[in-house]
Symmetry: D3
Subunit: 134 residues, 6 copies
């Protein structure tokens, strides 16, 4: 059970229901996942977070699948079970194959490894990598 | 200064120099960055990590730029200064634009936010997201 | 099941039972939670940690509810399921409302987001923020 | 140097300058810190993040000082140097004393400790702590 | 259920079965744990990771038990449930006692605490600790 | 500069000076590092943390060098610059060789990698690893 009561579509206030409708219309789905039902317990958070998600995850300079894979990479690094499942499912729905998932996780694992080698050895940044070098 | 002495190309043993040569040939560059110079202080680690990087970062089901951006996403989440600089530079060298960097960081930030909302509210995973549902 | 056997009040040694008694007296409760039963498997750790908790969580320059909310903020950031549940329950027992929980989690989420924007963009600290500026 | 060029007030576009003005008016200050100058390099991110900060950090069920201290707790746990400095300075400006800072950091440290004891021992959550128990 | 289908010994390809055989021979066991069954869904990852584990965890300048305890320390800090269980079991199989586990977790907890005190107070590194001081 | 003023031995109160003396006597050194000088700004924290460090890091079921290496493993995973330097120096003072440091960091890196593979693939814990199986 979540920390607070989930809000179901049927019993939602009109303003929350409008966000539920926008989520389903934007995603072309006919159901609402628990993340939004739980956030709906505090409408200002729900409305604010939906504005964030809608803007950030929209197609732009990066395509939606790439964005979902970046989302998975962060969620795996932080070990957020809910987000790993929801965004892996979203990435698969956008076309991610088993081979792409395997390569994504391989990069995530390797980056977590070399991050610690760089930190543990206190490796100084090469001047060639600094933004002023561009 | 790093925790251990860096190994320079000129004074490297033949086996380490061979890895330096392979790194430069694979990357089509004419210099070696500090990460490899420091790891060369322990040749088994250097050789092992280079095999990992060469295999994982090669083009495959994911293209090299996507892989670099995933690397940046992990490094930013963990706050590894060296890796943020080196992999942002690598992503730029592979064509990442300022707009793509901005969207990448926006997704990384948002994922770090919603990871905590999901964890803090203990949101149960929707059955529709589970792998057995596919 | 925990990694080690929990120690129950009935079968505890006198020295462990004295800590159990102090925990219940300090908290004005009549039961011991699993955290202390598990730690009691190694009495030096149990006694040391109870001294820490008793000192750090006592009313002082910060009130007990604020301290509990800070505890929740850390536990959510680290995704410690046990600690999220135990300290959210403790904060509610000290008066935290649903609205306060929602705002607490909103701040935690946002801070996790902007932490990564600051790190990813490598934003230099403004001199006005440094302690020597005070 | 940051990853991208900072935008200064004098050379900002009207839409970015309007956000700068709103930041200074809301905070009753006469300068803009680097966080917003860097984010201004990507106006959609800057405008979106300012809306988030303005809503989340406004007085509500929690007072502004408590919110700043929660922000510091997260930033310290994640080790974001920029955010530790900027939000500690903000908390001090809202009245945080040295004693309160010391107690805040003591709670943050202790929570990071017990989070690992709970995780390492795999301590099962007591049913009394679950939300359904309320 | 894992994100991908586990590969069982009976239905594995010859190349995957050869790795399974090497894992069991190296560890002197007669069963394969889920980690390798899941990784076997992507043979290049499985073979690469086994090479890493075999090299890194072999006796060397550090003995195998010390290596397992370091593995546990990292896994507890990151809260990886699978790895905490598998490497605590491995450390016990190599002789770790309950008292050693308790001291290991006490150090892990304390280090997570003082890491945040050092970061939160922004304590400058003493020159005596720098590698150039040796 | 640290967030608060460091306390120097010469100007310390008698109670703080007594802790400084105990630190130097216990460690057989003739100087105090910045960690304790900064913590001395809040004597209850300083005295409490020194009791923790003295108890946890004393020889016991684990030897002091193993404890220092576990401390380094945690500090590297969390990227605490101060703690990486201070505890690597302490481990070297207790006899850690370059080869041992290299193997320690290799294990830390690998564990950070496999932690994410286990989390990303959501690998179920094998019953053989559970404590009830012992």
């Amino acid at each position: 059970m979540a920390m607070v009561k989930r809000v179901e579509y049927e019993t939602a206030t009109p303003e929350v229901r409008a966000v539920f409708d926008d989520i389903m219309a934007t995603r072309k789905t006919d159901w609402i996942n628990n993340f939004w039902k739980v956030l709906a317990s505090h409408p200002p958070t729900m409305m604010r977070m939906w504005e964030n998600v809608k803007q950030v995850m929209a197609p732009g300079a990066l395509d939606p699948l790439t964005k979902e894979m970046i989302y998975v990479a962060v969620s795996v690094t932080n070990n957020c079970e809910y987000c790993i499942h929801s965004h892996t499912a979203a990435a698969r729905a956008k076309g991610m194959t088993d081979a792409q998932l395997a390569e994504l996780l391989a990069v995530v694992g390797l980056a977590n490894d070399t991050n610690r080698l760089a930190n543990g050895y206190r490796i100084p940044v090469d001047p060639q990598f600094l933004p002023e070098h561009r």
